[in-house]
């Protein structure tokens, strides 16, 4: 159920608000109720321009009029279709009561007409028409022919509404005793059935038996019933005011048949002397089309505050805050600067103004610097939750799968705020959210993130959404890096542009080949192979260079190798100590940590070929090094194994990081087993590792293990080594996730104990 927003404590009278208020008064006020034709009023403006504020202001104003509307209702129509708007309107208890009261008035008229025709009971007739007497009471107390009167009322309602189902349902509400006496646990009776059906529910058995078989679910049906309901007010004393706020904002273009039904609604509202207020974006006329737009009797354009109005607004704001209506502590200059930043947008003006007050504290006056600081703080903070919601809404509406805050690589910068995947595409799209981009440091931070993501997921698309303000001088540079312009949330049409960009990104991504259930995995492996090829290519280059070259300094070569490999791993691996790929592991129990250290240690050992190379260079004769290198090059799958070792190290490190973050997210807050959420996340992490390690088969390491363990070969040359058995290594890597899961749970149970 929608709620009327209460944002009326601060109000600046503008030409637009005066125009809207005046139009409403002209419709609802007058000496001869029913004579004035109704209106459909459109209030157009950018987001934050005060549409909702004005809409609720109109509702309040209507209640102060001499002929206050019998029915007034506000519906937040954002991202809703008309059937949803209808359901929320008619599902409201007060709206149902108002409709029922209107049906009662038709019944009262039928009873009054019958009595008047007889030529006596004049006082009863008058009181019935004035609504002083209830028709049911009169029928009951005088013993009038209820059946005939109900039939006559039904005939009239049918003629007025033009909808047989609606008139049939309304008559069921009129019967003597057909009231809300249905107690809890009893069957719901006619009122309950009618209310449920009117609110979009399935017609109950009692309604179906009376010919009402169609639920009000489609947009067209909903609009038809709504239009028919408004016709209950035609030529009557009672008026109504309906406000559909943010109409078609974030919604699809209506279908032609929906527009036709809307047209009927507009006409019915006008005929009935009611008032329908629609607020929306400036493109609402385009969405409704010119023919329908002609039926809008009044359009009110909300533009940004002028500088004077901003000053008035800040003065009023100060009045609300302190009771003193004055511009200070703002100066005319800072107020002007605030107006430029907010572009006169009332919501932005209010937010910036409040934030400037907060930041200024006791510092007086509020300078331009404070306003700038406020802009950075407040626009971001207020935008963040909103933009998250809008992004999620876009993704949900399009049915695209996504993960929030998804780490694509080991680097923290490779985190996508949304990692969006598509059923028909083999790769995904990283959606980055950025706070305001007002300085070069902001741009640098974005570039770091884009590069980290490109490195971690070379085939992924990247889209940047800016939550706050974007300095336009950076736009073209960001476009070159991203491939598309960043989208700014504060600018209208964010959802639409995001949808467009995501669709475009989707089309650029490689399609899924549908002939294998493992195609996604296959594509991922292709990427891994690409990375491996690069590593192998580098190694080949190095070896070729070495074979044909004069001996060089060991140290030099080692450094070169390390530097080159570090380029792939994203970091320079030190010979010992904690794995730098793994971020903070504080809070991870020792037993759990040990499993990771053990697994990464094995892989570290297997891939320490830099040190091996050093041994080769230590051979002053040169025969040893040549022998090693020949063996290396002749050993089947050796280079491939090196690549697998590197990737498995990355995988273990990422898993380790994931578990560390898990401990940070779900800290043990006392004895007890894991919460369902914690357990679910743990299962996901372990499942991801198990799935990935399955496609990075550890047996590919066998050539390295064999080489490592064979006596007299490189194992002998490189000093003491840990025990390395093929089966043990493989198990420790392939079963790592199971061991981790058990260790985590045991650790939790130990805390319990």
């Amino acid at each position: 159920m929608s709620r009327e927003p209460d944002r009326t404590e601060l109000f600046v009278d503008t030409a637009a608000t005066r125009e809207a208020t005046s139009a409403l008064s002209a419709t609802l006020e007058g000496d001869s109720p029913g004579a004035q034709s109704g209106q459909v009023i459109a209030i157009l403006g950018e987001r934050g321009s005060g549409r909702t504020h004005l809409a609720t202001r109109l509702l309040q104003h209507s209640r102060t009029l001499r002929y206050a509307p019998a029915l007034s209702k506000y519906i937040d129509a954002m991202a809703s279709d008309f059937s949803d708007v209808y359901r929320r309107l008619m599902g409201d208890e007060l709206v149902f009561s108002a409709v029922r009261a209107q049906a009662d008035s038709w019944y009262a008229d039928a009873v009054a007409d019958m009595l008047a025709e007889r030529g006596f009971d004049h006082d009863i007739v008058r009181q019935l028409r004035d609504g002083v007497l209830l028709p049911q009471a009169v029928v009951n107390r005088l013993g009038l022919m209820e059946s005939a009167l109900l039939r006559e009322t039904g005939r009239r309602l049918n003629a007025a509404t033009g909808l047989k189902d609606l008139s049939t349902a309304l008559v069921l509400l009129l019967r003597t005793g057909s009231d809300d006496r249905t107690k809890a646990g009893q069957r719901r009776g006619f009122p309950g059935s009618v209310k449920e059906w009117l609110a979009g529910g399935e017609p109950s058995e009692v309604l179906r038996e009376r010919g009402i078989t169609t639920p009000i679910t489609s947009e067209v049906t909903a609009l038809d019933v709504l239009a028919a309901t408004t016709r209950l007010y035609r030529g009557r004393r009672a008026r109504f005011l309906l406000v559909f706020d943010d109409l078609l904002v974030g919604a699809d273009q209506p279908q032609p048949e929906t527009l036709l039904a809307l047209r009927t609604l507009f006409e019915s509202v006008a005929d009935a002397g009611g008032c329908l207020v629609l607020t929306g974006d400036p493109d609402l006329p385009e969405l409704l089309g010119p023919q329908l737009w002609q039926r809008i009797s009044r359009t009110v354009q909300l533009r940004g505050f002028t500088d004077d109005e901003v000053r008035s607004f800040l003065t009023a704001l100060q009045g609300v805050r302190t009771g003193r209506s004055e511009l200070a502590p703002f100066t005319p200059e800072s107020a002007g600067y605030l107006a430029r930043l907010s572009e006169g947008n009332p919501r932005a003006t209010l937010q910036l103004g409040n934030e400037a007050y907060r930041l200024a504290g006791t510092r007086q006056p509020i300078t331009e610097d404070v306003v700038r600081e406020a802009a950075r703080h407040q626009m971001i903070a207020l935008g963040a939750a909103e933009v998250l919601g809008e992004v999620q809404q876009v993704l949900d509406l399009n049915g695209w799968a996504y993960r929030r805050s998804h780490l694509l690589g080991a680097d923290a910068d490779s985190r996508a705020d949304f990692w969006v995947t598509f059923d028909d595409r083999a790769d995904g799209c990283a959606l980055l959210l950025s706070e305001a981009i007002l300085a070069s440091e902001d741009v640098a931070a974005v570039i770091r993130r884009v590069f980290a993501i490109r490195q971690a997921a070379p085939g992924a698309a990247v889209i940047l959404a800016v939550e706050g303000l974007l300095d336009v001088s950076y736009t073209s540079g960001l476009k070159e890096i991203l491939g598309s312009e960043p989208i700014v949330h504060a600018v209208r049409g964010f959802s639409h542009r995001l949808t467009t960009l995501l669709n475009a990104a989707r089309l650029r991504l490689p399609p899924v080949v549908r002939d294998s259930p493992w195609t996604d995995v296959g594509h991922r492996l292709d990427q891994i192979n690409q990375q491996q090829s690069s590593i192998f290519g580098l190694l080949e280059q190095f070896f070729d260079h070495f074979t044909g070259a004069e001996r060089r300094s060991d140290e030099q070569l080692t450094q070169v190798l390390r530097r080159e490999l570090a380029g792939f791993a994203g970091t320079v691996a030190p010979p010992s100590g904690p794995d730098p790929r793994v971020r903070e592991t504080a809070g991870v129990p020792a037993e759990v940590d040990r499993l990771f250290v053990e697994a990464s240690g094995l892989l570290e050992e297997l891939s320490r070929f830099g040190e091996t190379m050093q041994a080769a260079f230590a051979d002053t004769v040169g025969e040893a090094s040549s022998l090693i290198l020949r063996r290396i090059r002749s050993t089947t799958h050796f280079t491939s194994a090196i690549g697998y070792a590197v990737l498995l190290r990355e995988l273990v490190a990422a898993f380790h990081t994931g578990i560390a973050e898990w401990y940070a997210t779900y800290p043990a807050d006392g004895p007890g087993s894991l919460s369902p959420a914690a357990q679910e996340r743990l299962d996901t992490l372990c499942g991801n590792y198990a799935e990935l390690v399955e496609h990075l088969p550890a047996f590919q390491l066998t050539p390295l293990i064999e080489l490592y363990t064979k006596p007299g070969r490189w194992a002998d040359r490189t000093g003491p080594r840990q025990k390395m058995e093929n089966g043990v290594v493989l198990r420790k890597l392939t079963e790592l996730s199971d061991r981790v899961r058990v260790a985590v749970n045991e650790s939790a149970n130990a805390e319990t104990g």
């Binding site: 009863i124 009951n140 005088l142 013993g143 022919m145 209820e146 059946s147 069921l172 109950s204 038996e209």
Partner: protein
């Protein structure tokens, strides 16, 4: 202070609720209170003619549908017809019982046909058991199905201790389908009476056409008050009580002036009973009831909200 004169309300039937329809099968003296208004006399004659020698009732069972607007005397007509059947069967030495289930749905009137019929069937079972109108073995075999009409009604003719005509007065129906379903459940020696203020001529036609294969129901209709009905009704009640005490008289002119203004016998009874009750309550009631007395009474009744009258 002058003591209040005691008067007699000529529109009050001693020992009977003021708005309850006449019921001769329960109160035999009511037979003489029927007045030929609202086309009820004609309808009764039609019923008698349709029933004829009772052969169809005894062989196939029957359903009688009475239609007419609220307050036009449908219930009183049904009671009169039921009473006539009881008399006929008694004269023939056969058993006949009236089972009044018209209040079986009180509190649950707005329900589906299935639920309504189940509730009525259950109430019927209660009545038959309470009045020992079923053999013990029938009670045992029907008890599990007491809410399932198609498992109960067809077995009733054989369930009574001796051959007995069961006159079953059903609650008001507004849907033709419900009437058709009851009609299809009739069996020899079962006579259903059902009344409806909401059914129109086309509904009745639909019911008759639907039942052609099983034997058409008897359909009766009552209407609004016709020319002379107000005078006929008022005169009857005033004359009937002439010997029993004093009360204000009502002139022919007053009666005539109300013709066309009061449209049903229920409205007539309610107004006249109320006006006399009000007048007789004062210490110096007038010699005559005037048109103005009627109008004022109605307005006071509505505006003061003197209780709520629900017809049984």
């Amino acid at each position: 202070m002058t003591p209040a004169r005691s008067g007699v309300n000529p529109f009050h039937l001693s020992g009977w609720p003021r708005m309850r329809p006449l019921c001769p099968w329960e109160e035999p003296q009511h037979r003489q209170f029927y007045v030929a208004v609202d086309r009820t006399e004609t309808a009764f004659e039609e019923f008698v003619a349709e029933m004829a020698d009772m052969v169809t009732l005894l062989r196939d069972g029957r359903l009688v549908l009475v239609t007419g607007e609220t307050g036009c005397g449908k219930s009183a007509l049904v009671n009169r017809c039921a009473d006539w059947v009881v008399q006929q069967m008694t004269e023939r030495g056969a058993g006949c019982e009236v089972l009044d289930l018209t209040a079986a749905l009180n509190g649950l009137p707005e329900d589906s046909i299935d639920n309504r019929m189940s509730a009525v069937c259950d109430q019927l079972f209660v009545e038959l058991t309470r009045r020992q109108l079923m053999r013990a073995d029938a009670v045992t075999s029907l008890e599990p199905h007491r809410e399932v009409p198609r498992r109960v009604y067809p077995h009733l003719p054989e369930a009574t201790p001796r051959p007995t005509v069961l006159v079953i007065l059903l609650p008001t129906c507004e849907l033709a389908d419900e009437v058709i379903r009851y009609a299809s459940l009739a069996r020899g020696r079962i006579l259903f009476f059902v009344e409806s203020p909401f059914m129109q001529a086309n509904d009745v036609r639909h019911i008759v056409e639907s039942m052609e294969r099983w034997g058409s129901p008897i359909t009766l209709s009552v209407g609004e008050l016709e020319e002379g009905d107000v005078r006929r009704f008022a005169s009857d009640r005033l004359k009937r009580h002439a010997e029993k005490g004093e009360y204000p008289k009502m002139t022919e002119d007053t009666m005539e002036s109300l013709t066309g203004l009061l449209t049903s016998v229920s409205e007539l009874q309610r107004v006249f009973h109320g006006v006399y009750e009000e007048l007789l309550g004062s210490s110096d009631w007038p010699a005559e009831v005037s048109f103005e007395d009627v109008v004022k009474f109605r307005f006071r009744r509505v505006s003061r909200g003197q209780g709520t009258d629900h017809e049984p």
